[in-house]
């Protein structure tokens, strides 16, 4: 059958594009179907007000895997490659982070921070090795390559040396709050690191597991943070370009309604408009819940697997707030050139923990935490001349608000968020000409991510490595013949890293399915 594709990739998120491009590069006939009009999924630049554009969900690059860039010969331009971070203090005595250096804190903290970074980067490097491998299956009849990978993981940990290995095994399950309190005196320092550990999760700094989430963030560019020129779409466009170059077909505005199953195997897809495409394999870049519960449907997979997918924890807590500004807001104590940096509002670890408390009960934080940047400061393409865009991640904003999301609750929260930022940027409110708040519920609706969770599932140890998305299905192949998962819901997880897409492509090609 000539019109049968080797593989259909559902969703042109960055992982879907990486996977499609690699499959096409290997000579496979690949079709990518994207529901939205733009490629990129949650890695897109969108206009939210006349003349103002912003990276709609993910806004900074942390962990784009160098292997992906290399494999696909990507050329991604960035306006800044090593952004600094400024932890804001209401009194203007900010703490500044630049790589492994921190200023605005006591000497002891400076030394401790270097040591902390050194250790974290070391562990992140180890983690990075894991990220680019397919998690081995744990089974008595595991294949040789599973056993080999497992042995390698063990060996990699041993190679850290006795002391570091002990520290790794201790820290990996620990919480960030204890680590920052053990090490640092400065509240701002403690707060900023705590924030980095809990961003995008349903965890507070006191929750065990938050060291892991912090390490995960570091496990790409060695801790560097960068901002792509033109926003995240440029990454997506670069990937789409590579995919097309390699021969893949990408079609937008094609929302997949269901995965077609014939004789117990995935055999193609059907779109909302009723168009059907057949293929030998279906590769889903959608999150695991949408993939299994909606596209595949429970009836086509088995009970325990369904139950596990059903119980995946993926309720988002991070909202995006976009502001169109008629000029840069004043931030006392910050120099003009520093507006290129990343700002965080997390005055101390306890503040972050309290912000989390609300989320546990379906409330928005009374005092939210923020990661803020002004992408237009360096990248003039994003706003009219002289005007600016603020892009902020605000936490904690539960997917399921107890009182329900409505225009009223949404604008109340937006007001609170702006007021909170105004404590650090007194003239902020006066500068706003337009705004957009995307709660996790909005993100679910607009980007088709279940729960609006940008990692496609909490990044906790029980949903990590061997058990991501669920045990027995961590090797990208789902327990339905012909179906693969290539998105952030698969190992290693979210962030614009491309690792899941790349690993999935490798597994698909390795499986040597015959056409």
């Amino acid at each position: 059958m000539s019109d049968r594709y080797d593989a259909i990739v559902v969703g042109a998120g960055h992982n879907g594009l990486v996977c499609a491009s690699l499959l096409a590069k290997a000579g496979k006939k690949v079709l990518v179907l994207e529901a939205n009009s733009q490629v990129g999924g949650a890695a897109v630049t969108r206009s939210f007000a006349e003349g103002y554009s912003v990276s709609a969900v993910a806004h900074l690059l942390y962990q784009l895997q160098p292997q992906v860039v290399k494999d696909l010969a990507l050329n991604i331009e960035t306006v800044s490659n090593d952004m600094g971070t400024i932890a804001l203090s209401a009194d203007g005595n900010h703490v500044r982070f630049n790589g492994d250096e921190v200023s605005g804190v006591g000497h002891e903290d400076v030394v401790q921070f270097r040591d902390f970074r050194k250790r974290m980067k070391r562990f992140a490097k180890l983690l990075k090795k894991f990220l680019n491998k397919t998690p081995p299956r744990l089974a008595n009849d595991a294949s040789k390559s599973d056993l080999f990978t497992l042995a390698q993981l063990g060996l990699d940990i041993r190679r850290l040396g006795k002391v570091e290995m002990q520290e790794f095994l201790r820290l990996i399950g620990m919480n960030m709050r204890d680590e920052v309190v053990e090490r640092f005196d400065s509240d701002l320092l403690r707060g900023a690191i705590s924030l980095d550990a809990v961003m995008g999760t349903h965890l507070g700094p006191r929750s065990p597991n938050t060291i892991l989430t912090y390490l995960y963030r570091l496990a790409g560019g060695d801790g560097a943070i960068s901002q792509p020129t033109g926003g995240m779409s440029s990454v997506a466009e670069a990937l789409a370009h590579s995919a097309r170059e390699n021969g893949a077909t990408i079609r937008t505005n094609m929302k997949v309604k269901r995965i077609v199953i014939e004789n117990g195997r995935a055999a193609g897809v059907e779109t909302e408009d009723g168009e059907r495409f057949s293929s030998w394999l279906v590769v889903s870049n959608a999150d695991p819940k949408s993939t299994i519960m909606d596209l595949v449907q429970a009836r086509n997979v088995e009970t325990e697997f369904t139950h596990r997918i059903h119980h995946l924890r993926m309720r988002g807590n991070a909202a995006k707030l976009h502001l169109a500004l008629d000029g840069l807001p004043t931030i006392p104590g910050v120099e003009k050139r520093e507006y290129a940096d990343r700002f965080v509002i997390a005055p101390d670890d306890h503040y972050v923990e309290r912000a989390f408390n609300n989320a546990k009960y379906g409330e928005t934080s009374v005092k939210p935490v923020f990661e803020i940047c002004f992408p237009s400061f360096r990248d003039t393409s994003l706003a009219p001349t002289g005007k600016h865009v603020m892009s902020a991640i605000v936490q904690y904003v539960p997917f399921e608000l107890r009182e329900g999301w409505s225009n009223k609750t949404r604008s109340a929260f937006e007001k609170l968020a702006i007021e909170t930022m105004a404590e650090y940027m007194p003239d902020l409110a006066d500068r706003i000409t337009a705004s957009e708040l995307l709660t996790p519920a909005d993100i679910e609706e607009q980007f088709h991510i279940h729960g609006g969770h940008w990692h496609h599932g909490e990044l906790t140890m029980d949903q990590f490595l061997f058990t991501r998305p669920v045990g027995g299905a961590a090797q990208y192949a789902m327990p339905l013949d012909g179906l693969y998962l290539c998105g952030a819901g698969a190992h290693p997880g979210g962030g614009v890293s491309g690792a899941a897409g790349r690993n999935a492509a490798r597994e698909i090609l390795k499986s040597g399915y015959s056409l």
Binding site: A298, N300, E302, E304, F305, T306, H307, H310, P479
Partner: protein, 397 residues
């Protein structure tokens, strides 16, 4: 607000008043919270009623779930290993259901009550599993265990008794058929099913008519040798019929703690219930793998020399008894076959039909224990399988 304390101890089935009148042994045990009689007058006589006239067994504690909704068939078809689309309304299917690893959770009967409406009936409780399996499906599952009671009427005169009760057309009911019948001013459901391997019926009805049914049945049955029977007699009959029982011959997989203690349908000799033509059902992938790679265990029906039941015996491949290959799970002397029979589980590749195995039997005579090694032959067919079981219409006795 006053909260009624849940009943303590064992519950009484709606038939209890009549059973209590008959009971001379005072031997009751627990069956899913109900008091269930071991026997009433004499377990040997009760056993022979099943093979010679008719025995009545109280089925009330069986769990019963009503499954309805647009996805009912899709749901049941994913749940069990056999193809339920072949089971038409008015038919009953014996089925097993497995977890994702292809390990048996339980066996039971599924009644196709009417188009798209099913009742699943089993020994163990499964609401949690049934609801878990309902995630993402449009079905409603209602536990009717407490609302529906039941009697098994088993034995060669069972059809005659039902006829004498005035159940019109019962003789046309084929094995594994079910239908509703008028009974006094109500309706009862009768299925031609049972756990004895003989001609027999199971009668289901709502609790409030329980005693009326009992009285009518015993009145009509007086001249046909009807007798109430307890679990001891039933146990003997079901072993002769080669039926397996949960917690005896296999463990429900979802509550098995130790690795390797659960069993697949293949390992229980239920290959005929697994239909790979269905594209998806719970355990399909694992069972397909097992089919390719072979099973670890094999359930065997054993015909053992001598007359001493091989309770809890080890099974050996040679008479020397060096290396055990399995163990007996159910054993009995069969009075009707005059045979020493047992069900057991052995490691593959043992267990082929005709294979000679050896069982180590411990038996006691006047307080002293002796042991012996007895030859045991693996047999294919149920030990007791009379033609009258299948005859439609059934004979009068």
């Amino acid at each position: 607000m006053t909260i009624q304390e849940v009943p303590q101890g064992r519950l009484r089935s709606p038939f209890y008043p009549r059973q209590a009148d008959l009971d001379r042994l005072f031997q009751w045990h627990d069956w899913k919270g109900y008091a269930s009689a071991e026997g009433f007058y004499d377990t040997t006589l009760e056993y022979f009623s099943v093979r010679n006239s008719a025995g009545v067994f109280d089925l009330t504690p069986m769990t019963k779930y009503r499954i309805t909704g647009p996805d009912a068939l899709v749901y049941i078809n994913r749940l069990v290993t056999r193809d339920m689309s072949k089971i038409k309304p008015g038919r009953v299917a014996y089925a097993v259901w497995c977890d994702d690893e292809g390990q048996v959770i339980d066996d039971g009967t599924i009644f196709h009550l009417k188009q798209g409406e099913y009742r699943l009936c089993s020994q163990e409780r499964h609401m949690a599993w049934l609801q878990m399996s309902a995630i993402g499906m449009d079905v409603t599952i209602v536990d009717e265990t407490e609302e529906v009671c039941g009697l098994a009427l088993q034995g060669p005169t069972s059809c005659s008794i039902l006829k004498a009760m005035g159940i019109e057309g019962i003789e046309t009911l084929r094995p594994f058929g079910m239908a509703t019948y008028a009974f006094q001013d109500t309706e009862i459901m009768i299925s031609r099913t049972g756990f004895t391997g003989d001609l027999g019926y199971e009668v289901w009805l709502s609790n409030d008519k329980a005693l009326d049914l009992w009285d009518a049945m015993f009145d009509a049955g007086k001249i046909y040798g009807i007798m109430a029977m307890g679990t001891e007699a039933l146990e003997q009959a079901r072993i002769e019929a080669g039926f397996i029982a949960a917690y005896v011959d296999f463990l429900p997989a979802n509550v098995t703690v130790r690795t390797g203690r659960s069993r697949s349908p293949f390992e229980l000799g239920l290959d005929w219930l697994v239909d790979f033509k269905k594209p998806n059902f719970n355990g399909r992938r694992a069972l397909a793998r097992e089919k390719r790679n072979g099973s670890t265990w094999q359930l065997v029906k054993l015909d053992i020399e001598g007359n001493k039941p091989a309770h809890h015996s080890y099974i050996y491949s040679t008479s020397k008894g060096k290396k055990d290959v399995g163990f007996i799970t159910s054993a009995a002397w069969s009075p009707v076959c005059k045979q020493n029979v047992a069900l057991g589980t052995v490691r593959s590749p043992h267990g082929k039909v005709g294979e000679k195995l050896y069982v180590e039997i411990y038996y006691q005579r006047e307080m002293h224990w002796s042991k012996m090694m007895a030859e045991a032959t693996v047999v294919d067919k149920p030990f007791w399988d009379p033609p009258r079981k299948r005859a439609t219409p059934p004979g009068p006795f």
